[in-house]
């Protein structure tokens, strides 16, 4: 079954483990500035929200690419950037209405979430279950919306770390 990243902001504590995992896996450096997933902080509301590419059906970035540098990985559903093909024209960065394709001035290429080839590190690193790698049909925005609506306004939320096998964080075999 096709899997997808499920983001549940109500579980996020803003720890940035996902950003570090992402940047380390993809850039070899612990560097939130190079992460494809971003955690947004809403200070006045006391809320955090992880956010990244949803690998949307419309694939605005992929269709807008003039040189076929963004292609669909049929196994994971990810729209992947081929660095060797990307010319750095940045059209995908304005075409993506979710703002999740970014230009990396250092390399002259664009970067976006590629689901780590089907083993996304952000989900492995998330200590609270705000980011999970789960069956695709359980992800939709509507479900998140419905959940959020049920959540009684004002009740204190406290987010507990989940017990995880340390192997879960490690490099995939």
């Amino acid at each position: 079954m096709l899997k997808a990243l499920k983001l549940e902001p109500q579980h996020c504590t803003g720890c940035m483990q996902c950003e570090m995992a992402c940047s380390y896996e993809n850039e070899g450096v612990f560097n939130p500035a190079k992460s494809r997933i971003k955690v947004f902080t809403f200070h006045e509301a006391g809320r955090f929200a992880p956010y990244t590419c949803t690998q949307c059906e419309e694939a605005w970035c992929m269709h807008a690419c003039p040189v076929e540098a963004i292609t669909l990985n049929a196994q994971t559903g990810a729209k992947e950037v081929a660095d060797a093909v990307c010319v750095g024209c940045k059209v995908c960065t304005i075409a993506c209405p979710f703002g999740t394709v970014n230009y990396n001035q250092a390399t002259g290429k664009v970067i976006k979430c590629d689901l780590c080839g089907g083993d996304p590190w952000c989900a492995k690193a998330c200590p609270t279950g705000a980011i999970t790698w789960t069956d695709a049909d359980q992800t939709g925005f509507q479900r998140m919306y419905a959940w959020a609506q049920q959540s009684p306004a004002g009740e204190a939320s406290y987010i507990l770390p989940q017990k995880k096998d340390p192997a879960a964080y490690g490099p995939s075999a």
Binding site: P9, W60, V67, V87, C92, I94, F98
Partner: protein, 422 residues
């Protein structure tokens, strides 16, 4: 069903591929008049900059891509359309029938009405053929004059500088990229270019191009009295849709080929997509030619759906551009020049070449200009095109427009409703 597509640019190619997805059996023929495999004009600046070879500009990288999809590509040029007989006249003398026709002939550079514009050493920058000649002429130390400081003029500056050319830009408008950027940001782009060693003339028109005194050079005369020496003159004064061959066909044209929200022309079996189409402008609701890559791609897909019998309606294209001028990245979206009665906010940081301008209508974002800001920039399109009501976030953005991504996440994700406080 026999589908014919005129034009082998992105709109035509994406339409052909989309048709094949919808219908595995139909005939699909693309008629293109250039000798190369389908390629992207968007990639030419990177070819000039030696980042890629010609194959790097090709729209599809796999040799047998079109064969495998059963898409026939014919090299020819359509000279006329008989809309009642569903037939095309070709330059080769043949004619070609069709059940459904997509016109995706794109646009071509305007030739400025200047004496001597046909001289050797005066070129547009549009096709691979042009690119080869520019590469030949723009040798190290060459003096290059660009007529027009629009999108194309700006985006090839870096490539030409990389090739060691000395650059002068002549623009008749009062600023650079006047059709994309407002005065504040355009002036910063100018400052940036000048800092990088480019000479910029604005509000100046080229009156004549003559053979210069020195062998092989050109003398470019401006109406401000300046005469510039040039080894190469590149004209980049805008593009016009290729619609002349439609004359007499009865197909409705204005600036481009008029299409409805299904990309259908005034003739039921004939569609248009990309630079040639005068489609619906999302921001104004009226018709406009949006000669940009994302619109070409969307047009191609939607036109093809409709040609294949799957009714697909288009809400119109948002005009948007992203431009890299010698490393300074600018972008524009929608009504960047403002909406009647709408609010606007801007942040200017000239020292760091950063600029952001947001335009609102009520509490919705309708346009933007940015400079030096690239992170999450696409979300501006998202906010415009989904007409997100910003609520309290409008005031936050009025105070700090850089929080545009936060505004989007807050207003569209569950988080925004979670606490009922955003």
């Amino acid at each position: 069903m026999d589908h014919v597509i005129v034009g082998a640019g992105p709109a035509g190619i994406i339409a052909a591929e989309t048709l094949r997805k919808h219908d595995t059996d139909c005939g699909i023929t693309i008629i293109g008049d250039e000798p190369e495999p389908p390629y992207s004009r968007m990639a030419i600046p990177y070819l000039l900059a030696k980042q890629i070879d010609e194959a790097g500009t090709y729209l599809r990288k796999h040799d047998r891509h079109f064969d495998e999809l059963g898409i026939e590509i014919v090299r020819d040029r359509v000279t006329g359309v008989d809309a009642t007989a569903n037939s095309l006249a070709l330059e080769s003398g043949a004619s070609r029938g069709f059940d459904k026709l997509l016109i995706a002939t794109g646009s071509r550079p305007a030739t400025p009405p200047i004496d001597g514009v046909a001289s050797p050493g005066v070129l547009p920058c549009w096709t691979l053929c042009d690119a080869r000649r520019i590469i030949e002429w723009a040798r190290p130390g060459a003096e290059v004059v660009l007529i027009g400081a629009g999108f194309i003029g700006c985006i090839i500056l870096e490539a030409l500088a990389t090739r060691g050319a000395t650059l002068t830009v002549v623009e008749s408008a009062d600023r650079m990229v006047a059709r994309m950027m407002n005065a504040t940001s355009a002036n910063l782009i100018r400052k940036w270019c000048e800092h990088k060693g480019v000479t910029v003339h604005t509000g100046a028109t080229v009156t004549a191009i003559e053979q210069g005194r020195a062998g092989g050079t050109l003398a470019v005369a401006l109406d401000n009295g300046t005469t510039l020496n040039a080894n190469l003159v590149i004209t980049a004064t805008g593009v016009n849709p290729n619609i002349e061959f439609l004359d007499g066909s009865g197909i409705d044209t204005a600036q481009g080929m008029r299409v409805n929200n299904q990309l259908q022309s005034s003739v039921a079996d004939i569609y248009a997509a990309g630079d040639v189409a005068e489609g619906i402008d999302f921001s104004t609701g009226g018709h406009a030619v949006h000669a940009i890559q994302p619109t070409a791609a969307e047009h191609g897909r939607i036109a093809a759906s409709n040609m294949a019998g799957h009714t697909s309606r288009y809400h119109g294209s948002v005009i948007m551009n992203v431009l890299d001028t010698m490393g300074l990245i600018s972008s524009s979206f929608g009504l960047w020049d403002g909406a009647d009665g709408g609010d606007a906010t801007e942040l200017v940081d000239p020292a760091r070449y950063r600029y952001l301008n947001l335009q609102f209508e009520d509490d919705r974002l309708v346009g933007a200009n940015s400079l030096g800001v690239t992170e999450h920039i696409g979300v501006i399109r998202g906010l415009i095109q989904t007409r997100v009501k910003l609520g309290k976030w409008k005031d936050k953005l009025m105070q700090d427009p850089t929080r545009v991504m936060e505004a989007y996440v807050a207003r569209t994700q569950a988080i925004g409703y979670n606490a009922h406080v955003l």
